[in-house]
């Protein structure tokens, strides 16, 4: 397997560090503004005529140790012994999430399917349902990683492109087939729970209305203070919510906020908010968030086993919330992940509205929020 990293800047256009025009897969991430015209896709298509070209809008791109808003980050991959299949489905709203996931799962399902990498619209989707749909159709033991597209801190529209110019309401997934492919994955948060444990007393799917009988939005506004509350839903990411099924301890899930309805006093999260689950606010400490990212990278590298020193790629998908909180210190977590992965594995990734990866403890693929997830890909020699 060979990789070629590319990067596009307003001033310089595309820059690349090698030649992989025979690549069969290209991944690219950029701001909605940078991708919306479709021009960048056209350029990539010209450069890599035989490749599946898959990308999405983000809340910031990761390229090795750098985090950037201006540049488009991309990687071209040449698999020698692995077959690829691209599937994409439109989605017009969260209600279709499971059906959409099932369609993708069915499209990719095969006996030698070894892994799926998915990029989804970040707003018109219930990530939990999407994941459930995919693994329900493709099989529960297939490693599924990826993330939800982002839109900076705007939460207006997200784009996903699958062999076409990026557009809203799209879910795209790449299936990896054959015995040679090696995929590792890791997921960690590093957030600290704080304050009292609350109970979800009223919710509907991914819409949260009340915690302990009080409007959840009141709580957020109080914690954010008047100034930052104006920045909701983006600023809500500063206080992710840890939720936990009291009947199944140890399977904690972190949820990130996608939207608020100030009239209904409700908040929409990137996944289910089941009633009677326990919820606890979280806050981030820069060092511990960085340590979380390192942990995700360590898990992903370990997943490659003996192949961890071969040429490969690490796709890092980290939550926009982390970036909003850490500001310039965001690079700390990217560096920490890079140190764990080692210099032979280039890193590409983006800040997302939701991360998809098997759960560290249960192994069950699910939607994560406010985490750093790392997917390592290589081929056995």
């Amino acid at each position: 397997m060979r990789t070629q990293q590319l990067c596009w800047g307003e001033a310089q256009g595309w820059r690349r560090d090698g030649d992989a025009s025979d690549a069969n897969l290209v991944l690219y991430f950029g701001t909605r503004q940078a991708l919306a015209s479709g021009a960048r896709y056209g350029e990539l298509r010209a450069m890599f005529p035989k490749a599946h070209i898959v990308g999405c809008s983000t809340g910031g791109q990761i390229r090795n140790d750098d985090v950037s808003d201006e540049e488009i980050a991309a990687v071209a991959l040449r698999f020698e012994a692995t077959q690829l299949r691209l599937a994409s489905e439109p989605t017009s709203g969260p209600a279709q999430s499971r059906a959409c996931g099932e369609a993708i799962g069915r499209a990719l399902k095969a006996d030698d399917l070894a892994g799926i990498f998915v990029l989804s619209d970040g707003l018109k989707i219930n990530g939990s349902e999407l994941v459930a749909g995919i693994i329900g159709a493709a099989g529960p033991n297939i490693p599924l990683t990826g993330g939800l597209a982002g839109d900076g801190a705007n939460f207006t529209e997200t784009l996903v492109g699958a062999d076409c110019p990026p557009q809203g309401g799209t879910v795209a997934a790449v299936g990896f087939y054959g015995p040679a492919i090696r995929i590792g994955h890791g997921s960690a948060g590093g957030w600290d729970e704080f304050g009292p444990r609350r109970r979800i007393t009223r919710s509907n799917g991914s819409m949260l209305f009340e915690l302990d009988g009080q409007p959840a939005l009141d709580l957020y506004e109080r914690y954010l203070g008047e100034d930052e509350a104006r920045g909701l839903p983006g600023t809500g990411l500063l206080f992710p919510l840890l939720i936990r099924n009291p009947a199944q301890p140890g399977h904690d899930v972190v949820r990130t906020i996608l939207a608020v309805d100030r009239d209904a006093r409700s908040m929409t999260f990137a996944g289910d908010m089941p009633e009677n689950w326990v919820a606890q606010l979280m806050r981030g400490n820069f060092d511990r968030l960085a340590a979380g990212a390192a942990e995700a990278a360590r898990q992903a590298r370990a997943g490659l086993g003996e192949h961890s020193d071969q040429e490969g790629l690490a796709v890092l998908v980290s939550c926009i919330g982390r970036r909003l909180l850490m500001g310039q210190r965001t690079i700390d977590e990217v560096e920490a992940a890079g140190l764990e992965l080692g210099s032979r594995i280039p890193r590409l990734g983006f800040y997302s509205y939701g991360e998809i990866s098997p759960h560290g403890a249960s192994g069950v693929c699910q939607l994560h929020n406010q985490t750093m997830t790392a997917t390592t890909i290589t081929e056995a020699a």
Partner: protein, 636 residues
């Protein structure tokens, strides 16, 4: 250099190596702002968190306080309830134990400890029923089979039914043990000492079946025993049923009082009991009536032997509170199966036999004979006819004159009752008078006789007396004096023309009351005669007890005349006695002129008999009396 500043510096350094201070400045300022914001957020969230946690803490504290108070209250309630429960459990009259589903004791009250003398060390929570039983076995308050008891207990509890056992303790107590199953597989055991209750029950059962005075079985129990014995009869055995009453018991009661009467019954009961063999039953079935079932007899003689033994026992003298009492008994005997195999049938037969024994003269025993049944029926019919006759006016009076032996003239007439039944014809007084006495008809019948006799006599010549016989029952009846007064008044007969004749037997009954009645008659002016003298006890004391106006010497002494020497001696003696006591001596049943001459010679002053006249209807008598009106006519 700080890592962040190094990155900022790198970012602000142009490719030429020149540092763009503006860019660097912006980056540094923005980092400071980010840091400030984070600081503010941290401060804010920490203070809010502290506030929230503090509030929660206060809420929690209040909740703990409330719950603690509620718990304390509940604890106090529980304690009070426990006290009440303990008081209730320990003051129960029953011993109580509770066992859990594993058979371990949970509760044991003090009554249990006291009932069996078990200590708390033994009956401690957690011990098993086996532990308790084995301990009690050693201490002697349980003598049953421990394994057997536990097995049957467990079987009942497993089935969900109450296990009930009556346990006889070696010390004589009886304990009723009930083990009630509980939902959890355990059970509640109650032990109740029912010794006293059982004793009382036995006593009550005994009382229900026994006569309190004599202690003998009563009529009810007797019937049960008889029914049992008759079951045996159906299997081939024979039994005798003896029915007996005490002759003249009533007079003992009347003369010596009920206490002595009761005492007599007790002693008689004891003597009867002593006459019997095991298996026989004697019961008191009425005032002075007893009944005996004799089992295992082979022939009638066996019963006759018992009957004689009983009579001898009853006839032996009694000393009752210083009173020497003699009494006899009459016994009626029936046998099963010959006289019947139904209880009622047999009792009736024995009763009839008793009646027969009395009819034979008291103080004897009599076996039932089928003819008795017929006689009894005839007697019943007689009773009915007798009652009817009084209202129908089927009675009549005949009169037999008695005459002075001095001048052979009539001095008076004895009224004799005659009954002519439309169907039966003439019925002799000896047949119907005893029946009338028995059924109480003698009183109204006697009053009718008095009225009729007085009314008839009132039409006779004025010196002719009329004699009326009174039965002992009439004499003792409270209505006697009013009846005599009324008869005299309505007829206008002079009292001295009425002679009341009584027999010795009248004086044998309740002498004091009888003498009193005779005196009151005498006070009215009525004359009193001693009838049939010599046939009863002929006690001279009777003659002393009341100054009779006349002694009538029984016809049995006259019929032997003129030859029978003893009769001569008796007639002479009685006539002499009468003369000395200033009484008239009347010889009854004089049928020949020789007899008339002889009684006159022996000192009698009057005679009565066929020689002069048989009893006559009043019309014929009137003809006979006609000549006696002459002096009146003459004087007129």
């Amino acid at each position: 250099m700080h890592k962040l500043f190094a990155r900022q510096l790198a970012k602000a350094t142009k490719p030429s190596g020149e540092v763009d201070l503006n860019v660097l400045g912006e980056l540094v300022i923005s980092a400071y702002e980010e840091s400030d914001r984070d600081q503010r957020r941290t401060d804010r969230s920490i203070s809010l968190m502290i506030e929230e946690l503090d509030q929660l803490n206060r809420d929690l504290g209040r909740m703990i306080e409330e719950r603690t108070a509620a718990l304390r209250e509940r604890e106090a309630q529980l304690q009070a309830q426990n006290l009440r429960f303990n008081a209730a459990v320990n003051n129960m009259s029953q011993a109580l134990l509770m066992f859990d589903g594993l058979g371990r004791m949970v509760i044991c009250n003090e009554r249990y400890l006291r009932m069996y003398g078990v200590s708390l060390e033994v009956a401690k929570p957690g011990c098993t029923v086996r532990d308790l039983l084995e301990h009690r076995k050693v201490t002697g308050t349980f003598s049953g089979d421990t394994d057997e008891y536990i097995e049957s207990l467990r079987a009942s509890i497993a089935k969900g039914v109450t296990h009930a056992k009556l346990i006889e303790l070696p010390d004589g107590r009886t304990v009723s043990v009930l083990n009630h199953p509980m939902d959890d597989g355990g059970w509640v055991a109650t032990h109740e000492d029912i010794t006293e209750r059982r004793r009382t029950e036995k006593k009550i059962a005994h009382m229900a079946g026994h006569d309190s005075l004599s202690g003998l079985p009563n009529r009810m129990l007797f019937h049960e025993r008889l029914a049992q014995a008759l079951v045996g009869v159906q299997r081939g055995s024979q039994i005798g049923l003896l029915y007996l009453d005490l002759d003249r018991f009533k007079s003992v009661n009347d003369s010596l009082g009920h206490q002595i009467g009761d005492e007599l019954l007790k002693v008689v009961a004891g003597r009867l009991r002593n006459c019997l063999r095991e298996g026989d039953t004697v019961a008191r079935v009425g005032g002075d009536e007893f009944a005996i079932i004799q089992v295992g007899i082979e022939r009638p003689l066996d019963i006759a032997i018992l009957a004689r033994r009983i009579r001898e026992a009853v006839r032996a003298p009694y000393d009752l509170a210083g009173h020497a009492v003699m009494i006899d008994t009459s016994i009626g005997i029936a046998m099963a199966p010959v006289d019947g195999i139904e209880a009622d049938q047999l009792l009736k037969a024995a009763d009839m036999a008793l009646y027969g024994a009395k009819a034979d003269g008291r103080g004897t025993h009599c076996f039932f004979e089928p003819a008795m049944d017929a006689r009894m029926k005839a007697r019943r019919a007689l009773e009915i006819a007798l009652r009817k006759a009084l209202t129908a006016g089927d009675f009549d009076l005949h009169y037999q004159p008695f005459v002075s032996l001095e001048d052979n003239r009539i001095t008076g007439c004895e009224a004799l009752l005659r009954w002519t039944d439309p169907e039966r014809g003439d019925i002799p007084p000896a047949e119907f008078i005893p029946v009338a006495e028995e059924i109480g008809l003698i009183v109204p019948l006697g009053e009718w006789v008095l009225r009729k006799a007085c009314a008839d006599a009132a039409r006779w010549p004025s010196h002719i007396k009329v004699a009326v016989n009174l039965s002992p029952i009439q004499v003792m009846h409270q209505n006697l004096i009013p009846a005599v007064v009324s008869a005299l008044a309505s007829s206008g007969l002079a009292p001295e023309r009425l002679e009341i004749e009584i027999t010795e037997s009248v004086l044998m009954h309740n002498t004091e009351m009888t003498i009193d009645a005779l005196h009151r008659l005498r006070e009215l002016g009525v004359r009193i005669s001693m009838d049939d003298f010599g046939t009863g006890y002929s006690s001279l004391s009777y003659l002393r007890s009341f100054p009779f106006d006349k002694i009538k010497i029984d016809r049995c002494f006259i019929s032997g005349l003129p030859d029978a020497k003893d009769s001569i001696a008796i007639v002479r003696a009685v006539a002499g006695l009468a003369r000395n006591l200033n009484m008239i001596a009347t010889a009854e049943g004089v049928e020949t002129p020789q007899q008339r001459e002889q009684v006159r010679a022996l000192g009698c002053t009057e005679m009565q008999g066929f020689l002069f006249s048989r009893p006559l209807p009043v019309e014929q008598l009137s003809l006979l009396l006609e000549p006696y009106r002459v002096p009146l006519a003459r004087s007129a």
